[in-house]
Symmetry: C2
Subunit: 204 residues, 2 copies
DNA sequence: TGACAATGTTACCAACCCGTAACATTTACT
DNA sequence: AGTAAATGTTACGGGTTGGTAACATTGTCA
C-alpha cells in the first residue's frame, strides 16, 4: 500500500477545497489564510509552500471551478448528442441545480464582484472564463434556432447571475428557487418570436 | 446668511456620500474608515462621533439608499397615475437606468452579498428593504393584469440583480447593458400568456 | 539504516484596521 | 466679545492579517 492517499487527500487538495468553501461562505476578503489552513487540517506554512500567496490561491480556486464547469458542458453535449434544443432545455435545468446546490462554482461570481476596482490577478482569469461560457451558450442558442441568440444569451446570463446572487442572500425562499421555471418561460418566449422583431426592436 | 451649507455640505453628509461611493467600489470589507474619512475631506474622529461604529455607518448608508428608492416609487406612481401597465413599463426603463448609472443604490446588494454567513447588523435591514421592494413590484404586476404576477416579480428580481451584478464586473459591454430590452421582452411574454398555463405548468 | 523530501509547529514581523483619548481649532449663536 | 458646540489633529492601543524564518516531525525510497 504505497498510496494511502485514498482516504486522506494530499494537503494541497484539502487546502483548495477548504479555500473554495470558505471563500464562498465569507468572501475572498472575509477569510484569512490562517482560517483556511486550519479548516484544511493543515497549516499556513504548507499553504504558502504550495501557493505563493493568497492571491495565487484565489486564482487556483477559480481555475478549479472553471475546470469543473468544463465537465458541465461535456456532460450536456453527451446527454443530448446532436440535439441543441434539448441541450438548451437541459442547460436550464442543470444550471438551476448549480444555483441551488451548495457546492456550486460561485467563486467566479464572488471574485468578479469583490475584486472590482482592484488589480487582483484573478480578475482577467474570471474575464476569460466568462467569455468562454458566453461563447458556448451563444453557440447553443444559435444552433437551437433562436431568433435573437445574443439577446437570449444575455437574458440567461442575467438570470443565472441574479439567481446565484439572490440565492446566497435570501436562500431557498427567494426568487432564485424559481430560476428554472423562469428561465424556461424566457426561453420559450424567445423561441416563439422567431421571425418577428423584439418589442424594442434593436436588431442586434 | 446663517446657512453656508450650500457650498460645502456638513461633514456628516460628506462622510455618508464618501462611504457609499467607496463601499460600492471596494466593498464593505474592502475599505477602511480612515480612507472613508479622508475621501470625505474629514477625519476619523468626527466619523466616529456621528456614527458610533463602522457597522452603524453601513446601516445608515443602506437606509439612505432605501430612502432614495422610496423616491423612485413615488416618481413612478406620479408619472403614470392610475395606469399600472404604464407604471410597469416605466419601471423597467427606470430600473435600467438605476443599473447603468454610477450612483445607483447598489449598497443593498453589496451588503447582502458580502454579509452572508455573518451577523452584521445591516443584514436584517437589507432583508426588510428587499421585502418592501418585492411587495411593491408584486402589487404593480398584479394591478397590471399579469397572469402569474409572483413569477414575473421573481423573474424581474433575478434580472435586475443579475444586471447590477454583471454591470459591476463587465461594465457597459456586458449583458447588463441590454437589461431594458430583455426585461421588456420578458414582461410582454408574461403579459401574453394570460389565460394559458406556463411551460412548466406550476400554477402557484 | 541512512538520506531526502514533504509536512507540521512555533514564533515572529510589518502592515493594516477599528476604535479611543487628549488636545487644538474653528464655527455658530447670543 | 464670549461661550459652547462642532470639527480637526495627533497619537496610541489592541487586534487581525499576509507573509517569512527556523526548526522539528513524518513519510518515502534505496
Amino acid at each position: 500500500m504505497t498510496a494511502p492517499a485514498r482516504l486522506a487527500p494530499p494537503p494541497r487538495e484539502r487546502i483548495i477545497d477548504a479555500a473554495r468553501d470558505l471563500f464562498r461562505k465569507h468572501g475572498i476578503k472575509g477569510i484569512g489564510v490562517d482560517a483556511i489552513a486550519e479548516a484544511a487540517e493543515s497549516n499556513k506554512m504548507t499553504l504558502y509552500r504550495h501557493f505563493g500567496s493568497k492571491d495565487d490561491l484565489v486564482v487556483v480556486c477559480i481555475e478549479r471551478a472553471a475546470a469543473e464547469a468544463e465537465g458541465f458542458w461535456a456532460d450536456l453535449k453527451a446527454a443530448h448528442p446532436d440535439d441543441p434544443r434539448a441541450q438548451l432545455q437541459d442547460w436550464v435545468r442543470r444550471a438551476g441545480e448549480f444555483v441551488t446546490v451548495a457546492h456550486c462554482n460561485c467563486e467566479l461570481l464572488d471574485a468578479a464582484a469583490q475584486l472590482v476596482e482592484s488589480d487582483h490577478p484573478a480578475r482577467h482569469v474570471v474575464e476569460e472564463i466568462r467569455k468562454g461560457h458566453k461563447r458556448r451558450l451563444a453557440a447553443l442558442c444559435r444552433d437551437a434556432g433562436v431568433a435573437e441568440p445574443d439577446l437570449l444569451v444575455d437574458a440567461l446570463t442575467l438570470l443565472i447571475e441574479g439567481a446565484r446572487f439572490n440565492w446566497r442572500s435570501t436562500g431557498p425562499t427567494g426568487a432564485a428557487a424559481r430560476f428554472v421555471a423562469i428561465a424556461e418561460t424566457v426561453v420559450t418566449a424567445f423561441m416563439a418570436k422567431s421571425p418577428c422583431g423584439g418589442s424594442s426592436g434593436r436588431a442586434h
